[in-house]
């Protein structure tokens, strides 16, 4: 059923778009159908309720359990029935089916589905999910007029308040669930945890959720604010459905927790305060909708008291009032919507003699209002009479307590009567005017079908009054779960005979009428001052406080200066480990000097170069000494027994130097004197401390090693499982291949980043080739290309013909021509032999990259295009595809991703060849490295050549760049 509702929510927008606003009638079929289902499957007394279980997130005990008992059924009828009517009402409320209206239809049905799910779910965690779903949907529905600041504010306020409550509720749910061992409401009710601090805290947290949702003081303020929503939303969410969720939860938990003291304070006391306060505020409002909104707040307080007392008879009254409130309040909201729609205003001061113009509407409002005020022959009357009678002699409290509660309820009802009068008078009254007010005079009358929903609801309120015995018998299965304290369960009835309740009702009518007249007379005196405490202001202050706090935090952490940020990071990296080290246990230190003289020499050179890098101002010189430290590190790697590392380090260091030079040629050799930062003692201190901390940490880390290291087994394992003698390479392509896959992705990102930094908004393409240069030359009369070749020279490299002869070097060209093939062969050898000897995809790719660098340096940018006429992006993509493809293929073959296998083939010339699938993975790495180098050369090399050329040719436009990318 839930699924069906959710699906219809998805279908809703197209339907509205297709049928216009009349589509809402079609949409109304969804909740109406669900309503039929609910009535057909009404839980029978005496039988255990229907339970359905679907597994979901078993780790968190979050299986979806739905349990359909009496209470769920009653609320479902309200939710679905009112939902269907509200959708019918929408068909007339909205004039045109704008896209937003179409989405609105979907949101309404989704809301109905979420509410339905909320009342039928038995698992509290799932209930919480539905709970928050209704919150989010209410945010979207209240924010229907998102253009308006007030609507946004109201929606945000409702969202924040109810979500905060919901989070508190989640904590309460988890506390209760962990204590009782089950997250099912039915288990919780069957076996509530013993009363104690833990249980009280959990219950209070749960109640915060319920109270915030039901707009009980001190969370009441969001509800009047939410009146910025379209009226159908108010009629549905804020009268019949969402605000009832809290009442539902209170009613659900009452059998288990109604006797705890924290419950009394939270539910009953706050409920009474809410009832009086909401009623009083309602008396002073001038907006009809706000009158109703505060009236709703007041009624919700009333309901919370009734269902919270936890007496069977009182609960009967509570359920009757619950149904009554949904009926009359939805009807009244719809009446306001019609008034608003017809006259364009809801302001009491602008409406006069509307009753004469719209008698049917006035009658509808009067009937619904009678139910609200508690006049005879309505369900509201039945509920109030029962409430007055049952609260007076409930056994749940001491007599004086229950009598006080009852008197407070009577006072609340007096106010209710008064604001009902005020509403009717304000909407339809004559207001001592002989003619209708301008707004009323200019109104356009509503269509007949517009009346349908409110009239039905109002009539239902009266019909339910007469049918109260039958309805009451439906409530009784729920009431029987509560203690009756020695009284027998009384059936709901219109007339119980003379007694205290009748007296109370008379007091209510007379007192309410007097109060209404009094307030009308003395309005100016009573409401002169703003209330001292306004929850809305407190909300504002809280938000402002949060803003201030975040501003303060940002201000003090984000100073905007990169050196400061770096300093803070480095200081943390120094202080934190040092403190932890000083705190914890330490091992006996054990150190020795350099192992050999060569180590000492190289180490010394590295250290000197490091310091020199700090001192040197010339950029190229600094780069060179940094490069020296890199070469030194490579030599140390070699001495240490790491040939792979040494090889890679040398290749990388060379490439890095080339890239540096490619960029630095564009920059002045030294930074301008004004940028000289000078010697900063603090920076030096942090630097030295950082170095020292590394030394100390290294000492202690080495000293802390006591177990047999894992490395001892790796070579054997590599040979056995990875089929490779070179343990480092097997680690890279097999044992830790995931790691490598992630790393090559970083390389791809870096390559793409380089290209986009240099090319900016241009489409990428392959490196220009000789043919492009020739075409360009033809187009621009050879002006932008360097002089053509003197014919007598030997051509070593094709592309270098297009370079300025002054920049050409015969020796370099010849050497390149000769050693390029050798380097390519070497790179393939490194790549292939890497599994068993030093080398591998990285080293092979880097060698290939260096070969390309050589071609570029010797022959210029066109030569680069001749050397490898493929777009770098394609190479990168192919590499990633091959690497990832290897991973996926082994998945298809039933092995874990990236596992390797061996093939042995015998070829005629080469003899036996052992092929490990990891080789394909390595091939991907190889291609990615080559792609990276090519990308860098194309961007920082070839592209920067052109930028210089065009810069020198200012102010002429840049034909070279325009034709440089052929596609």
């Amino acid at each position: 059923m839930l699924v069906a509702l959710a699906l219809s929510a998805l279908c809703a927008p197209p339907i509205i778009r297709w049928l216009g606003t009349r589509g809402f009638y079609v949409l109304a079929l969804a909740p109406a159908g669900a309503l039929v289902w609910v009535i057909a499957n009404w839980p029978r007394a005496g039988e255990s309720p229907a339970v359905q279980t679907i597994e979901w997130v078993p780790v968190l005990d979050m299986e979806i359990v739905t349990r359909f008992d009496t209470l769920s059924a009653i609320l479902s009828v309200l939710i679905l029935g009112v939902g269907a009517l509200v959708l019918c009402y929408c068909a007339h409320y909205f004039d045109d089916a704008r896209p937003r209206v179409a989405v609105f239809g979907g949101e309404m049905i989704a809301f109905a589905a979420a509410m339905f799910g909320l009342v039928v779910s038995d698992n509290m965690l799932v209930l919480y999910v539905f709970w928050e779903l209704t919150t989010v949907l209410s945010f979207m529905l209240v924010g229907f007029y998102g253009i308006r600041a007030t609507a946004r504010r109201a929606a945000t306020q409702a969202l924040l308040v109810t979500t905060a409550g919901g989070l508190a509720m989640l904590v309460g749910i988890i506390m209760l669930g962990e204590r009782t061992g089950s997250y099912l409401l039915s288990d919780l009710l069957a076996d509530p945890p013993a009363d104690g601090v833990y249980a009280s805290v959990a219950v209070v947290l749960l109640l915060i959720g319920a109270l915030s949702k039901s707009a009980i003081v001190p969370f009441h303020f969001w509800l009047p604010g939410a009146m910025a929503a379209p009226t159908p939303v108010s009629a549905y969410l804020h009268a019949a459905a969402m605000v009832k969720a809290g009442i539902y939860l209170i009613a659900r938990l009452a059998p288990a927790f109604a006797e705890t003291p924290s419950w009394h304070v939270a539910v009953v006391v706050l409920g009474m305060i809410t009832m009086i306060l909401g009623g009083w505020r309602s008396l002073r409002e001038l907006d009809l909708k706000l009158v109703l909104a505060f009236g709703t707040v007041s009624q919700l307080g009333f309901l919370a008291v009734l269902v919270g007392i936890g007496d069977a008879n009182v609960a009967m009254a509570g359920l009757a009032m619950l149904v009554a409130h949904a009926l009359f309040k939805a009807a009244l909201f719809m009446v306001v919507g019609i008034i608003d729609h017809s006259t364009g205003t809801r302001d009491i001061r602008k409406l006069a003699r509307l009753g004469q113009r719209l008698p049917v509407l006035a009658l509808t409002a009067a009937v619904a209002g009678a139910s609200m005020a508690g006049l005879p022959f309505t369900i509201g009357f039945v509920g109030k009479e029962t409430a007055f009678a049952s609260v007076w002699d409930t056994g749940a409290y001491l007599p004086w307590q229950s009598e006080t509660i009852d008197i407070v309820l009577v006072i609340g009802s007096v106010i209710t009567f008064a604001y009902t009068c005020r509403f009717l008078w304000g909407a339809f009254g004559r207001k001592v005017r002989s003619t209708p007010s301008p707004a009323v005079a200019k109104m356009h009358p509503p269509g007949a079908m517009f009346y349908l929903a409110p009239v039905l609801l109002a009539v239902a309120g009266v019909a339910a009054g007469f049918l109260s015995p039958q309805i009451g018998s439906l409530f009784e299965p729920y009431a029987e779960t509560l203690p009756a304290y020695g009284h027998k369960l009384e059936h709901l009835a219109m007339w119980h005979g003379f007694g205290l309740p009748v007296v109370f009702s008379i007091i209510v009518v007379v007192g309410g009428a007097l109060l209404f007249l009094l307030v009308r007379q003395l309005r100016g005196k009573i409401f002169r001052y703003r209330p001292l405490v306004n929850a809305d202001r407190i909300y504002d202050a809280a938000l402002r406080g949060a803003d201030t706090l975040s501003l303060m935090l940002t201000r003090n952490t984000q100073r905007g200066s990169l050196p400061i940020t770096q300093g803070v990071i480095l200081s943390t990296a120094i202080i934190l480990p040092t403190v932890v080290l000083a705190w914890g246990g330490r091992n006996q230190l054990d150190w020795r000097g350099f192992d050999s003289a060569s180590q000492a020499v190289i180490g010394g050179v590295i250290a000197v170069c490091g310091v020199a890098a700090v001192i040197l101002r010339n950029r190229l010189a600094a780069v060179l000494v940094v490069g020296l430290t890199g070469y030194g590190a490579g030599m140390l790697f070699a001495l240490y027994g790491a040939p792979d590392l040494a090889l890679t380090q040398f290749l990388v260091e060379t490439l890095t130097l080339v890239i540096f030079v490619l960029v630095l040629r564009k920059l002045p050799a030294e930074p301008e004197p004004r940028h000289a930062t000078g010697f900063k003692p603090l920076r030096a201190l942090i630097g030295v401390a950082f170095g020292a901390s590394l030394v100390v940490i290294g000492l202690f880390a080495a000293a802390a090693r006591s177990e047999q290291p894992v490395q001892v087994d790796i070579p054997a394992a590599a040979y056995e499982f990875g089929q490779g003698a070179n343990a480092v390479n097997v680690l890279l392509v097999d044992i830790r291949a995931w790691d490598t896959l992630g790393e090559v992705c970083v390389l791809i990102v870096a390559a793409t980043g380089v290209a986009s930094m240099v090319f900016r908004n241009r489409r990428f393409g392959a490196v220009p080739r000789v043919a492009d240069a020739a075409r360009m030359q033809a187009g621009i009369n050879g002006e932008d290309v360097d002089d053509p070749v003197p014919p007598d020279r030997t051509r070593w490299l094709l592309g270098s013909d297009f370079r300025d002869p002054r920049h050409r070097s015969m020796v370099l060209e010849a050497t390149t021509r000769l050693i390029f093939p050798t380097m390519v062969v070497l790179s393939v050898y490194f790549f292939y032999a890497g599994h068993n000897a030093p080398g591998g995809g990285f080293a092979g790719g880097l060698t290939m990259g260096l070969a390309l660098v050589l071609r570029y340096l010797a022959g210029g940018r066109y030569e680069l295009g001749e050397a490898l006429p493929v777009e770098p992006g394609r190479i990168l993509g192919a590499g990633l595809a091959i690497s990832a493809g290897t991973a996926v293929t082994s998945l298809f073959l039933g092995a874990p991703a990236l596992s390797s296998a061996v093939f042995e083939v015998t070829l005629p010339v080469l003899g036996d060849i052992k092929l490990v699938t990891a080789l394909f993975f390595d091939l991907g790495i190889y291609l990615i490295v080559v792609g990276l180098v090519l990308d860098v050369l194309r961007s920082l090399g070839a592209r920067l050549d052109i930028e210089r050329t065009s810069a020198e040719r200012q102010p002429a436009p840049i034909p070279a760049t325009a034709s440089e990318v052929p596609g």
Binding site: D340, G560, P563, Q566, G630, T656, F690, V695, V710, A727
Partner: protein, 199 residues
Amino acid sequence: MSINLGFLIVIGILAASGAYLLMERSLIRMLLGLLLCSNAVNLLILVVSGGMGNPPIMGRASENRVADADPLAQAMILTAIVITMGIAAFVLSLVYRLFVINRDDVDVDDDPEDRKVATGSLRSAPDRDRSDDPETLADTSAGDLFDDEGNPLTAEEFAKRHREVIETDLMPEDADVIDEVGPDGRDSSSPGPTDGGSR
């Protein structure tokens, strides 16, 4: 395990120089600092992983050393080396772009947005505008003065639209200040600031 202190000191010096350079403003010097630090840390991993040894390749030995060097540490360093090259290339392209924009230097200045936050107040926050309540900074109904397409309207235009097109669900414009004396009805003539729950 005994550790080579000489190496450690070299590493310390490298890292100190690197850290000093990292805290400069020039992007190139920061990159150089990063490279120094990365060399230092690579060496540190190697030194901490154990002493000198044979290359971790089956069947190869050098100088009759007893044990193999740690291949795990080597594999980690190898990836680190290559990644550092990628980063260097990327930062260098940043350097170039920065130089093209600045024309004369490659210094990283303070972030203007952060400076704004540091000197500004809540009142100058980007989500504030004139329609906010001057005292509480909350949204007010003045923020409603927009048509359906989001174009701003003046109060008069807004009132006119509201009269002509019957636009429902607006809060009464003056729910907060209802002091005007209406021509009729006691209720509207009552002086007295009231507080509608709306803003």
